[in-house]
Structure formats: C-alpha cells, structure tokens
Symmetry: C2
Subunit: 111 residues, 2 copies
Amino acid sequence: MNPDALRGHMDALLLSVLEREPLHGYAIIEALQERSGGALSVPTGTVYPALRRLERIGYLASEWATVGGRKRRTYRLTDSGRKQLEGERSAWREFTSVIGGVLQADTRASG
Amino acid sequence: MNPDALRGHMDALLLSVLEREPLHGYAIIEALQERSGGALSVPTGTVYPALRRLERIGYLASEWATVGGRKRRTYRLTDSGRKQLEGERSAWREFTSVIGGVLQADTRASG
DNA sequence: TACCTACATATAGACAGCCTACATGTAGAC
DNA sequence: GTCTACATGTAGGCTGTCTATATGTAGGTA
C-alpha cells in the first residue's frame, strides 16, 4: 500500500477503530492490521502523533492505566469525535465516488 | 473535497484523463472538473508540476504546439504510462477495499 | 487607448502529514 | 544474560498539494 494514499484518511481509520470500544495505541495498531486483513501496517511514528493530534482537536480523550505492569494511554471517542466519524464516513463515500468516477475506464459514449 | 485526500491519487487521475486522447494542461484541468461533475477543481500549481514529474518518470511525453496564437504543451501517455495506469487502477481498488472495510460501521458479530 | 475575461504555462515557497530511525522501559521465556 | 513482545514517544526527513504570483496572447467592449 502506497503510504501517501493514506494521507487524509488516517483520522477516519483511527476514529473508526475506536468507535466500538476504547483502545490504547498499540492495540489500535493491531486492530487496524487485523481489520484490514494484514494490509495496514501503520508504524508507531504515525499513530502516536496522530492520536495526540486528534485529542488536541477534541475528537479523542485519553487516560493512563497500568495493566500487567505496563503503562497504557487509553483513547476513547468524545461526542465531537463521534460526530466527526460520521462526517469522515460521508466524506469517504463522496471521495471514492468522485475519484472512482474519473478513474473508471472510459467506455462511455463520447460527447 | 479535502485536498490532502488527493495525495497519492493525483497520478492516477492525470493518467486516466489522458487515456483516450492527448491533452494539454489547461484542458486536463477542465476534463477533471467535467468528469467529476464539478467536484474536482485542481489548481494549476498542482497540475503543471505533476505533469512534469510524470514526464520525468516516463509515464508521459509532451510536445509543444501553437493553436490560435496560444502555445500549448500537449501530453500523451507512453506505453510505460499506460501500464502504470493499469497498476493505479488495481491499487485504487485495493485501497478502497481496505480502507472501506475498516471504515464500515462495525455491525459484524464480534470475535 | 485602456480594461476585462478567457486561455495557457510556469515557479517559489508554505504547509502538513506520514515515514524512518531512534530512545526508553517493563514482563516473561529460555 | 539475552531475546522477544509489549508499550509510548520524539526528531527530522520527505514529498506532494496548495497559495500566490508572474508572464503572455486573443478577443470583446467602451
């Protein structure tokens, strides 16, 4: 997967995996990998800054927890984030419709 | 349309509009706008550098022409570009499949 | 003449987000 | 003592899209 292709869609992915339940960063990476059938291997250097950015904007909130001696920062969707996820989903549908429409082989009648 | 979303898909769009016939930059911008139903307004500062980049890579070739007193640089797909377009199309299908799969509401049974 | 719009190409520099690489530390297996 | 998995984080690089600007022709019109 071309890394650049993810540009502008990372937020949607992160909000989406947090929709059902709160998760910490490492678990989010695993969830993305699992849900994509192994296609998405998002590096930590991408996910952690992105999560902080989304928290700064107000779409996510986080709390620290210690589980089995390890410290985790668990992120959850805020109400604002849940609304944003809806927006991201409709933006995604429009995006794929527009680009897909231009990309599809030009078998239409001309004019 | 969020500009960042186009990242990594611009090449596919440009190659695609050049598939049927050679066009010059200005006409390419108009074609993108028309084919997208007005959704894509790609600025000249994006298109011209991108076309030069694609020519440098070898996917496009260009020639100067003068039409009605105006100078045009007309771009056409090379064989390499035509192959690349096929690749872009299958990459697009995979991309939408992967992201769409993660994004879709999680109504599946868990586990 | 002067001005405007459409046509047509091009570059400089700003911006932003994803990436690689690295740093730090715990837990448990061997 | 060493390795792997777990877990978070930052610094800096890369690159492609964007805004803003420059340049010039053709044709309309006042």
